[in-house]
C-alpha cells in the first residue's frame, strides 16, 4: 500500500470522525445530566438541511454552519422541554423527532426540486485547508478543540459538577438548590447545537448535498460512542476516529480496484455497524452511567 493511500485513509477517517464525534460530545453533556436522546439522528438530519439552506441563502458557509447549530438548538429545546417540565417520555419524543425530521426534510427536498436530493453549490461549501498531502476540513481541528473544551467543562468547572450531580442524583441536586430542570434543558440545547453542527457539516462540508439518507444511522452510532467513551469527551474523540476509520475503509475498499471484486460492497458497508455492535458489546459493564439517566425528575 502506498503512502498516498495511507494519507487518503487518514484524511477520510478524520472527516468521517467529525459528525459522529460532535454528536457524541453533545450527547455526553446530555447524558451526564441524565437525559437520553435517541432523536440525535433527527437533529443531524435537520442540521444538514438547515445548514445547506442557510449557506445558500447567505452565500456563506459559516452562516450555514451557524444555521445548523441554531436549528439544532431549537430542536434540543423542544426535546428538553418535553423531557423536563412536561415530564414526557424521552424515548418516545426521540422517536418523534426522528420521524419528524425524516418527513420534514423529505418534504423540503420535494418542494425544492428533485425529491430526495439537493446539491449544495461549491462556492458555499466549507473551504478546505490544503496540506500538501491532502485537504483537511477546518472542522476537524475544531472538533478536537470542542472535545477538549467539553472535557474541561464537565470535569474542571462548577458547571460540570452541577450537570453531573443532576444526572447522578437529581433529588440531592434539588435539595442543594440546583434548578434540575433548567440544567437539563441547557444540556439538551447544548447537545442540539453540536448535533446540528454535525448535520450541517454533513451537507455543506463533507458530502456537498442533502439527501434523505445522509445520516445513515450516525446519530445512533454516536449514542454507541457515548457508551464506549464512558461519558468522557476525549474518549469519544477516539471512538469517533475508530468509527471514522472503518467508515473511510469502507469507502476505500468499495473503490479500490482489485479488492472491490473480491469483497462485495454490501459487506463492506455493513462493517461500521458490525464494529459498533462489537465495541458496545465489549464495553458495557465496564462503564459507569449516571444513576438517574432517562428518568424524569419529580419533586414530591
Amino acid at each position: 500500500m502506498e503512502l498516498t493511500h495511507l494519507w487518503g485513509i487518514l484524511f477520510i477517517s478524520l472527516h468521517a470522525m467529525v459528525p459522529i464525534t460532535l454528536a457524541a460530545i453533545g450527547e455526553t453533556i446530555e447524558e451526564s445530566a441524565g437525559l437520553f436522546n435517541i432523536g440525535l439522528e433527527g437533529i443531524l438530519l435537520f442540521g444538514a438541511l438547515a445548514g445547506a439552506l442557510g449557506a445558500q441563502a447567505s452565500g456563506s458557509a459559516l452562516v450555514g454552519l451557524l444555521t445548523g447549530m441554531g436549528v439544532g438548538a431549537l430542536i434540543g429545546l423542544v426535546f428538553g422541554t418535553i423531557s423536563t417540565s412536561l415530564r414526557g417520555s424521552q424515548l418516545i419524543s426521540g422517536v418523534g423527532i426522528n420521524l419528524l425530521a425524516l418527513g420534514f426534510v423529505a418534504l423540503m427536498l420535494s418542494v425544492m426540486g428533485a425529491p430526495g436530493f439537493h446539491s449544495v453549490a461549491r462556492e458555499v461549501q466549507v473551504p478546505l485547508i490544503p496540506l500538501g498531502v491532502g485537504n483537511l476540513s477546518p472542522l476537524v481541528p475544531i472538533t478536537v478543540a470542542i472535545a477538549i473544551g467539553v472535557w474541561w467543562l464537565l470535569r474542571r468547572t462548577q458547571l460540570g459538577i452541577w450537570i453531573r450531580a443532576v444526572g447522578e442524583n437529581p433529588a440531592a441536586a434539588d435539595v442543594a438548590g440546583i434548578r434540575v430542570n433548567r440544567v437539563r434543558l441547557g444540556a439538551a440545547v447544548a447537545a442540539g447545537v453540536l448535533a446540528g453542527l454535525a448535520g450541517a457539516y454533513l451537507s455543506i462540508d463533507w458530502f456537498g448535498a442533502v439527501t434523505k439518507e445522509i445520516t445513515a444511522g450516525r446519530g445512533f452510532i454516536a449514542l454507541a460512542i457515548v457508551v464506549f467513551s464512558g461519558l468522557n469527551p476525549l474518549l469519544a474523540l477516539l471512538g469517533g476516529f475508530i468509527f471514522g476509520f472503518f467508515d473511510g475503509l469502507a469507502t476505500w475498499v468499495a473503490t479500490y480496484p482489485g479488492i472491490k471484486d473480491i469483497i462485495p460492497w454490501q459487506f463492506v458497508a455493513m462493517m461500521p455497524y458490525v464494529v459498533t455492535l462489537a465495541v458496545v458489546a465489549g464495553m458495557i459493564g465496564r462503564v459507569r452511567f449516571p444513576s438517574a439517566l432517562g428518568v424524569p425528575y419529580l419533586r414530591e
Partner: protein
C-alpha cells in the same frame, strides 16, 4: 373513593390519542399554509382519497395490514418494558425468507405454510441476538436494533443482487410461486388475505397478554422487574420471549407484503415496498397506545393517511412527505403525558385573558 369503571379508564388514552391526532393535523395545516397550499382542499383530498370509495378502503386496509404487525412487534416489547425498534430489519429478513422458500418448489398448501413459518423464524433469528446481547452484555436494545436494521438493509441488498436474483430481471428477486401467493380479496386493489392473518394475530396477542400466564409475566416485568423477580418470574425468559415473539411477527409482516403484493410478488432492489414499514409501525403502536385493539384503529388511520396522501399529492399537489411530518408531530404530542391537562389549562388561560 370509587374508581372510574374500566370503560372510562380506557377513554383517557383514547382521548389523548385523538387530541394528539388533532394537534398533528392542525400543525400540518399551518405548514401547508406556509408553503402556499390550501389546507382545506388538501385535507378534503386526503379524506376522499382514503375513504371515498370502496377501492380506496381496500387500499387503506392493504396499507394497514403490515403496519398492524410491525406495530404489535413494538407494542409487545413496550409491554415488557423493552424498546424494540428492530422490526424494520426483522421484516426484511422475513420477506427474503418467504421468497427463498420458492426455491424448494413445494406443492400447495405446503409452500405458503412453509414460507410463512420460514419468515417468522427468520424474524426470530434476527431479533434473538438483540435479546442475548441485552441479557449477556447489557447492551441497550435501542443501539443494537438499529445496528441490526442497517446490517439487514445491506445484507438484503446483497441477497437481492447476488443470491435470490430473478434470472430475467436483475433488479429484483425471484417471485413467490403462484400457488403460494395470498389470494386477492379485491380485484384491482392490492388487498390480500394477509389482512385476515394480521387480524388473527391481533386476537392472538390480545389473548396472550391478558388471558394467559405468559402475558401476565410479560406485563409484570414491563411494569416492575424487581417485584417480578421477587414474585419468582424469570426476567431472562421474558426478554427472550418478547424479542422472539416480536421478531416472528415482524417476519410475518415481511412475508405478507411479499406474498400478497401484485404484480411482482418479489422483493425489489432498494426494498421500496418494505422500507419504513418498521418505523411506521412504531408510530402506529404509539398512537394505538400499545394495545392490540388500539393498534388496529391506529393502523387504519395511518393506512388512510397513506392512501389519501397519494391522492393529495395529485391534487392539490401537496407532497406526500407531509404525511410523515404529521405523523412525527403526533408522536411528539403523544410523548407528553399530560397533554390533555395542558390543553384544558391553555384553554382556561386564554378564556381568562378575554
Amino acid at each position: 373513593m370509587s374508581s372510574p369503571s374500566s370503560w372510562i379508564r380506557n377513554l383517557t388514552p383514547i382521548t389523548e390519542s385523538l387530541l394528539a391526532g388533532v394537534v398533528g393535523l392542525v400543525i400540518g395545516a399551518f405548514i401547508m399554509l406556509a408553503f402556499g397550499y390550501n389546507p382545506l382542499a388538501a385535507y378534503r383530498s386526503l379524506f376522499v382519497g382514503s375513504v371515498g370509495s370502496v377501492y380506496s378502503w381496500a387500499e387503506l386496509f392493504a396499507n394497514a395490514t403490515p403496519l398492524i404487525l410491525t406495530a404489535l412487534t413494538f407494542a409487545i416489547a413496550m409491554r415488557g418494558g423493552l424498546f424494540n425498534i428492530g422490526a424494520e430489519g426483522q421484516l426484511y429478513m422475513g420477506a427474503l425468507a418467504a421468497v427463498s422458500v420458492s426455491l424448494l418448489h413445494l406443492p400447495a398448501p405446503f409452500n405458503w405454510i412453509v414460507a410463512i413459518l420460514a419468515a417468522m423464524v427468520a424474524g426470530m433469528i434476527w431479533s434473538l441476538p438483540v435479546a442475548l446481547l441485552k441479557l449477556g452484555r447489557g447492551v441497550h436494545e435501542v443501539i443494537s436494533t438499529i445496528m441490526f436494521n442497517w446490517i439487514a438493509h445491506f445484507f438484503a441488498f446483497y441477497l437481492i443482487a447476488n443470491v435470490l436474483t430473478d434470472p430475467q430481471r436483475g433488479e429484483r428477486t425471484i417471485a413467490v410461486s403462484e400457488s403460494a401467493r395470498l389470494t386477492r380479496v379485491f380485484p384491482d386493489a392490492t388487498l390480500s388475505s394477509g389482512l385476515f392473518i394480521s387480524l388473527v394475530t391481533v386476537g392472538v396477542i390480545f389473548f396472550l397478554l391478558w388471558r394467559t400466564s405468559t402475558g401476565f409475566e410479560i406485563r409484570s416485568v414491563g411494569y416492575n422487574p424487581h417485584a417480578s423477580h421477587y414474585a419468582g418470574i424469570s426476567i431472562r425468559k421474558q426478554v427472550l420471549r418478547v424479542f422472539l415473539i416480536g421478531g416472528a411477527i415482524a417476519g410475518l409482516a415481511g412475508a405478507i407484503v411479499v406474498m400478497g403484493r401484485p404484480p411482482y410478488y418479489a422483493v425489489l432492489s432498494g426494498l421500496p415496498q418494505l422500507v419504513n414499514l418498521g418505523f411506521d409501525g412504531i408510530g402506529v403502536a404509539m398512537i394505538g397506545r400499545n394495545h392490540p385493539i388500539g393498534i388496529v384503529f391506529a393502523a387504519i388511520f395511518f393506512g388512510g393517511l397513506m392512501t389519501g396522501g397519494r391522492i393529495m399529492q395529485f391534487d392539490p399537489g401537496v407532497p406526500f412527505e407531509l404525511v410523515r411530518v404529521i405523523q412525527g408531530i403526533i408522536i411528539l404530542a403523544l410523548a407528553i403525558p399530560e397533554l390533555r391537562r395542558l390543553f384544558f389549562l391553555a384553554r382556561e388561560r386564554l378564556a381568562g385573558r378575554k
